[in-house]
């Protein structure tokens, strides 16, 4: 059977979103709209201290003055921020001590997603803090972590129990008025994860949180804060799947990473929110601000596999403040049908001997548009800064587009910066070579795509690689072997 690229393309287009189902859980939802009262009510509902309420209000006032950015290479109908409900939580409270107490329907949802909490608990040693529509409903392995002094909980819990840490670090990397979406998030964030690794502690397991969007018309505003104290290490995983929806769902998350002296944070994301159907209807709007701060000898590594969302606007960045600090960014962005992705990174070199690596792989199919947008900035005091960037794009079909917008600014003569980008399609000769050796075209394409993204897939932690592969399959069925 001759399996051509055209057929693959067709198959990709007709491939439906497998994980599109909807769980009916009674929820406690705010009426639509946003104003100061809503924020105060939200804050009160979460029993937050006064400083947090004020912080939110301050962000909201800043947000009101801001205009939605338009510079990204994406086109969409702007969300109506007054048509969104800013709070929704699964109703079954208080929290559970064991999995048996969890709503069986909820457990079933996770089962269909292929996430077996028990299995992961045993096999992978992953502590899963499941976030379903904003409020944490299940936390496992907390005890093991607590023994090491690691704090891993929802951010609302952290605000209650560790206000000194939250107060000290929240908004230090992504200030409340950083940008339009970050300001919105700061004002209305519903929940998220908080993680603190004490001095010199190597976190014994991969931490992961599964974010899901479940309630119709609910924007999800996650706030994640990860602090790695001096000499510590943590690997943090974040993965997402979302049910099918006709209405566009807004997601504006903020992730802040703080790596103090000699610390290392590895942050991996697999994002597979509903990308819209093949007419481009529906799908999640994903406007995320992710940023990490590296102190002396610290290292932050971002790895992302982006396959979902109708619109992706995401630039995980590293501020290399301390001397000898290292920033890394590994990304695969797959767009299909009418998806649009404008993603990349910022590497801000401030300290001496700072190093950064950017590997970005874009795959566009269908009628999608895939852009890389990045900034490498070497400031005048960043002696011996080193950067290597590589952005490769693979085009499948002639109706999609691949774009590259790298910004490189060097103010120091000892800086060494390299940037290279290529755009190509799968070569006829490559497929022919495989065919000649008895590998059929489908497998050949799979092989080539796999090879194309290998550099990034290799950076994912073992426990996550399987899921990443699963998610890639949905977007590029038949391409990933």
């Amino acid at each position: 059977m001759a399996y051509t690229e055209e057929e693959l393309k067709k198959e990709l287009e007709t491939k439906e979103y497998e994980y599109g189902f909807y769980t009916d859980i009674e929820s406690d939802t705010f009426p639509k709209g946003l104003n100061e009262e809503v924020i105060i009510a939200l804050s009160k509902k979460k029993e937050e201290p006064d400083w947090m309420t004020q912080w939110r209000l301050e962000a909201y006032r800043g947000w009101k003055e801001m205009i939605e950015p338009e510079w990204a290479n994406i086109h969409y109908k702007k969300p109506d921020f007054q048509d969104i409900s800013y709070y929704s939580a699964p109703n079954k409270k208080p929290k559970y001590n064991s999995l048996d107490e969890v709503d069986p329907e909820l457990l079933n949802t996770f089962k269909r997603l292929g996430i077996s909490i028990d299995e992961q608990k045993k096999l992978a040693g992953v502590a899963v803090d499941i976030v379903m529509d904003s409020v944490s409903v299940a936390t496992t392995f907390k005890k093991t972590l607590a023994e090491k002094g690691i704090i891993f909980c929802s951010i609302s819990e952290a605000i209650q129990e560790h206000p000194e840490l939250v107060k000290k670090y929240i908004g230090t990397v992504v200030p409340p008025k950083d940008n339009f979406y970050a300001a919105l998030n700061s004002a209305v964030f519903s929940d998220g994860s908080f993680c603190y690794i004490p001095k010199g502690v190597k976190c014994p397991m991969e931490l992961s949180t599964y974010f899901r969007i479940n309630q119709a018309g609910t924007g999800q505003f996650e706030r994640t804060l990860v602090i790695a104290d001096e000499g510590s290490y943590v690997s943090y995983l974040e993965g997402c799947t979302a049910p099918s929806r006709d209405e566009n769902q807004l997601h504006a998350a903020v992730v802040e990473l703080i790596a103090l002296d000699d610390a290392e944070i590895k942050y991996s994301t697999v994002q597979n929110w509903f990308p819209g159907d093949k007419e481009g209807k529906g799908g999640v709007y994903n406007f995320v601000t992710k940023r990490g701060l590296c102190e002396r000898n610290a290292k932050i590594s971002w790895t992302q596999v982006e396959t979902g969302s109708a619109i992706t606007w995401k630039y995980p960045s590293c501020i290399l403040k301390g001397d000898n600090s290292i920033g890394e960014f590994y990304s695969i962005a797959v767009t299909n049908n009418f998806q649009q992705a404008d993603t990349g990174t910022k590497m801000i070199h401030l300290g001496k001997n700072t190093r950064s690596t950017i590997i970005s792989k874009g795959i566009s199919a269908g009628k999608s548009q895939n852009s890389y947008r990045g900034l490498v900035q070497v400031n005048s005091r960043a002696e011996n800064a080193r950067n290597f960037s590589q952005c490769d794009s693979l085009l499948m079909g002639n109706e999609c587009g691949a774009h590259t917008f790298p910004y490189i600014e060097a103010k120091n003569k000892t800086a060494q910066i390299e940037h290279e980008a290529t755009t190509s399609k799968i070569g006829e000769d490559q497929i022919f070579y495989c065919n000649q050796r008895g590998i059929d075209t489908e497998k050949a394409i799979a092989l080539i795509v796999n090879g194309f993204s290998k550099e990034v897939l290799n950076k994912l932690p073992m426990e996550f690689a399987v899921e990443a592969q699963k998610l890639l399959e949905i977007s590029l069925e038949g391409s990933v072997g």
Binding site: C400, A415, I417, E418, S424
Partner: protein, 438 residues
């Protein structure tokens, strides 16, 4: 009164001196409206993010020179490529100097824009080509269009090639305290025609000069155009050079830009490929010191299949200079089998120098080979050590390595005398004697 207001109000005075019934005047009227609406670009615009015109625009430039100035050949001989015979189109403070020029109508037209715009025999050509490639939207280009009156006009008919290269030189005498010049060039190479042009802007004193130049180049089927821009002006000179190139099937256009001088230089170089099997080459060497600022803004728009483009820009930045490279390649959906390459290499030799580079690809076709590479670095310490160990002083060794760095841009210069001249300029700019005749 700021410069924008001054320009807009001068337009009426300008109209008294041109034929307002000519169809070109409608284009000018439209253009001034656009400029009036848009004004000078600011750093808020993405295209001008790294270059600010503010310091330049503070100067009170005179828009029309008050008197005609003359120069003797021996005063300015060194600015010409005098080793070989060339056609020359020379302007002094924006006014044509017939004394220094050598034009021709022998088979080809190498003459003046002012005559092309006024004499009826040129009207058919002007109707077809004038302002057809230039932007009607970009404010500085439309400002030039509004005041377009003088410049070079070159028309090479089918199967013709002028006997010698053409030099277009603009001198600013400095007799005005500060002067704004807006030359407008139109260059047409018909089918199978061939042409070589060298363009230069030169101020003879340190008085500020602002040149806002627009050049339109049309290359018909199989035409070959080589265009060399030598930018080695005095330290008070600002040059905004807008070049628009429209190419048809199988044509070849090569543009080399050598930027060594000037206070602020902005090159907007735009290629539009309207046919198949086109080749476009954009190359540049930039060597800066002091507080110089050069911004290369290039666009190659691949609109048809099977075309190629090559870009190679090298920059060496010393003292407090700033270099900007903003290269954009657009490949349209139908432009399959496009090969587009872009390279930008920079060396920083001072702590206070800055490089901002932004190589962009916008690709809508799948069967293409597009790549860009960009580096910022220093000279190789090992190579320097090697040369020093062989008795070459560090300064000369540095010079040699920098020369080697810039050299592959020079390789494609097809006029040996020009190549020699550029080599000398590079050696002078780098402040080294290379020890061999280049």
């Amino acid at each position: 009164m700021d410069l924008k207001e001054k320009l807009v109000s001068s337009f009426m005075a300008f109209e008294n001196n041109v034929d307002v019934d000519h169809p070109v005047h409608d284009i000018r009227t439209e253009a001034i409206k656009n400029f009036e609406a848009k004004g000078f670009p600011t750093k808020k615009e993405e295209a001008w993010k790294y270059t600010s015109l503010n310091s330049v625009l503070k100067t009170d430039f005179s828009i029309f020179p008050k008197e005609e100035n003359a120069l003797e050949y021996h005063q300015v001989k060194k600015y010409f490529l005098h080793e070989i015979d060339t056609y020359k189109i020379v302007f002094i403070d924006g006014i044509y100097s017939s004394y220094l020029s050598e034009t021709t109508h022998d088979g080809v037209d190498i003459c003046l824009m002012s005559s092309a715009l006024t004499k009826p025999m040129y009207k058919p050509v002007i109707d077809v080509y004038f302002n057809k490639a230039a932007s009607n939207d970009e404010s500085l280009t439309t400002l030039n269009t509004a005041f377009s009156r003088e410049g070079a006009y070159i028309y090479i008919p089918k199967n013709k090639a002028p006997k010698k290269p053409v030099e277009i030189i603009h001198f600013a005498t400095g007799n005005e305290a500060s002067l704004m010049l807006q030359p407008r060039n139109l260059i047409i190479a018909e089918e199978n025609a061939e042409l070589q042009v060298i363009e230069r802007h030169q101020s003879l004193t340190g008085n500020p000069v602002l040149t806002n130049s627009v050049t339109e180049i049309f290359a018909a089927k199989n035409a070959i155009v080589d265009y060399y821009k030598v930018q080695n002006d005095s330290e008070q000179a600002t040059l905004i050079d807008n070049t628009y190139i429209a190419q048809k099937d199988k044509s070849v256009v090569n543009v080399h830009t050598f930027s060594f001088g000037g206070k602020l230089t902005r090159n907007n170089l735009n290629f539009y490929q309207h046919g198949e099997h086109i080749e476009s080459t954009l190359k540049g060497v930039t060597i800066l010191g002091e507080k110089q600022h050069v911004d290369h803004h290039t666009l190659v728009h691949h609109q048809q299949p099977n075309c190629e483009s090559h870009q190679d820009y090298k920059g060496i930045y010393g003292e407090k200079s700033t270099g900007v490279f903003n290269g954009k390649i657009i490949v349209d959906k139908i432009a399959q089998k496009t090969n587009a390459f872009q390279q930008n290499n920079n060396v920083l030799i001072s702590d206070q120098a800055t490089v901002n580079t932004k190589p962009q690809l916008e690709i809508f076709a799948d069967d293409v080979k597009c790549s860009h590479g960009c580096t910022i670095g220093q000279l190789d310490e090992d190579a320097l050590f090697y040369l020093q160990s062989r008795g070459i002083p560090r300064k000369e060794a540095t010079g040699l390595l920098m020369y080697a760095f810039a050299n592959n841009v020079l390789e494609s210069v097809r006029l040996p005398e020009l190549k020699k001249r550029i080599n000398k300029l590079i050696a002078t700019k780098l402040g080294v004697r290379l020890g061999f005749d280049l």
